[in-house]
Symmetry: C2
Subunit: 345 residues, 2 copies
DNA sequence: CTGCAAAAAGCAAACGTTTGCGTAAATATT
DNA sequence: AATATTTACGCAAACGTTTGCTTTTTGCAG
């Protein structure tokens, strides 16, 4: 950034003061006279002085940059999280720099190096699907850079987490399906090496067992990426089963919507023939017909919480805070896709 | 970032070389012996050395940080743009820092100050709705920080732009509606102080006139924020007109979807009674029923283009590139919401 | 051996702040 | 009036790199 930037030195020369005095004045340090301080501020404004934060960062040996690693920015969930992070970061004087792992472990590792090089003050991350172990994050422990995971978290690493109770949420959705009369409930599941998706499967299982329903592995369709297409594919497969399911719990809203479209194309009624529930409460879940029953996963809230937690850890680093885990409450949002009419005789 | 970071000095001491030699070796400078260079790299890896980019940035007087200002991250369009920006920035060795103006001028101004303080290498921005004049961006001209606007751009400022031809796109959609037999076409318009939305209105008008259809101001419903709710509200209002429209062109997909839902609630058929077209080609436009005819605005492409353009300007700054404008091609995507059956006799 | 060019490495300043410590003048305390 | 205290400011080093210039070392022809 060339072009002639005005620096503290320029102000010092102009006022016949030392740079240290200027610096202190600009920070309203008490040891500088009120009059002087005022004049410095005036001149600074007049000359269009802007502090150079990279110099400041170097000297102070810390930045106020928060590094965020998301799988993909353009997935609704993550864009909401980022929005929340940016919101609180901005208010507390932090900057946010963003990287997409695109669910690639290799890229995630490269990003951690970049973050270290850039001296970020703290990190918020959602693990890539490919990521099994988190050695590449462990360096931040020794560097004393706080680290907060959200949603897809690591258990083999000392770090803070903001999550929802996927097991509980999944179990509640499933229970809801049972309550509306479903007896043969299928599940379109996410990548089972990722704990949140494994938990959703477990929650589903638990609800079945709790209600004395059999758990049939054939009723579970596993996908790696939870897209519309995968949802539709899963539904088509489930519809070919000898015994048709009367309810489907999908691991996210995208697959649920794909499933709904496939089911409608097969000329089956939702929810009368098959009830469908999703997970995340994306805006699109109110657009699809019938509107989708789903779990609100509090994405924006999750971003804000992660940022607040991280910043607290950054600022109280001396206090040596133990890592903490926050579990956000989720809401079951009931809409038409599971609102079964009482069967007419 | 305390914790003991290993620096160039540490390497120098360990190898009995000067820091300058180490620095040059790490940059594979030819004036350092091949053997030495190799050993330096080895030791660096062994000791876990990572360059400190803030020191480097200070010395080189430039960063490789690209500042991005978006109205909101969680709007589909912008999240795609950001994704594109991040994608090319990552590949070319740049970092991306993101700020939301939330369509507030005040906040946008504050953000420009932050960016200056942070010595960003270049800026990509989409103007806030509130922004009428761009004085707060002009400082980057004198600082010689390249600036690329996308989508909502400023005309009263020397800066590069990546846009689509809103007038042309709108005119094509409207023509399409006319071609399918619509004769009384309404328009749900965006904030008219924003040029892209004004252009869309103009394009709509132009298509009408070109086809000898009257332009009726009563057929235009203006909104400030193009939300689902506003779309529904606009549609309800249009449905109360003495003469019902037989087609509606909406300034974006959100309003189009709101309109579709309102029209369906009013028990009118789409497209038979009223055809509806949107703008942006959000994923949700394939979810709504009937699927929405719309303009693909190439959001991801726009982000990539803006980033490439910006980085070129950053790196060829000496060349003193004049600001340039790139107009991306748009596609008219025809779906069920305008696909009228030939009227049966 | 000498001289000389090329190769390899070192010196030291600079980037713009921050900050511990020191000091002079102004004020307060006996 | 002499000492102690406070107030207001300056000095200079440091943060970790980069880089123009200088110096040393090496290789080699004369």
């Amino acid at each position: 950034m060339p072009g002639t930037r005005v620096t503290i030195k320029d102000l010092a020369k102009r006022m016949n003061l030392s740079v240290s005095t200027i610096s202190r004045a600009l920070h309203n340090h008490p040891s500088i006279g009120a009059e002087t301080t005022k004049e410095v501020w005036q001149l600074a404004k007049q000359l269009g002085y802007f502090p150079n934060s990279v110099a400041s960062n170097l000297r102070r040996r810390k930045t106020n940059m928060i590094g965020v690693i998301v799988p993909r920015i353009d997935i609704t969930f993550h864009s909401y999280v980022i929005s929340g992070v940016e919101e609180v970061a901005y208010k507390l004087g932090y900057n946010v720099t963003i990287y997409q792992s695109r669910d690639s472990l290799e890229r995630e590792i490269a990003i951690t190096s970049i973050l270290q090089t850039n001296m970020v003050a703290g990190i918020i991350a959602c693990l890539a699907l490919e990521t099994q172990n988190c050695n590449h994050f462990s360096r931040f422990n020794s560097l004393r850079v706080p680290l907060v995971f959200y949603d897809r978290v690591s258990n083999d690493l000392e770090a803070s987490k903001v999550i929802i109770d996927d097991f509980d949420a999944a179990s509640r959705v499933t229970q809801h399906l049972i309550d509306t009369g479903c007896r043969k409930i299928a599940h379109i599941a996410g990548c089972q090496t990722t704990s949140i998706f494994a938990s959703r499967l477990e929650g589903y299982k638990a609800a079945l067992l709790r209600n004395n329903l059999v758990f049939d592995p054939a009723m579970v369709y596993c996908t790696t990426n939870l897209t519309y297409e995968e949802g539709a594919k899963g539904a088509r497969k489930l519809l070919k089963l000898p015994e048709l399911p009367d309810g489907i719990f999908c691991a996210n809203d995208y697959t649920a919507i794909g499933a709904i479209q496939a089911i409608k194309k097969a000329n089956l009624r939702i929810p009368d023939d098959i009830a469908v529930a999703g997970f995340s409460n994306y805006p699109v879940s109110t657009i699809i017909e019938p509107a989708l029953t789903t779990i609100d996963d509090r994405a924006f809230e999750m971003g804000k919480t992660a940022a607040r937690m991280l910043i607290r850890q950054i600022e109280e680093r001396d206090a040596n805070i133990a890592s903490e885990t926050i579990v956000l409450k989720t809401d079951l949002i009931i809409r038409e896709s599971t609102r079964r009419e009482p069967v007419r005789p």
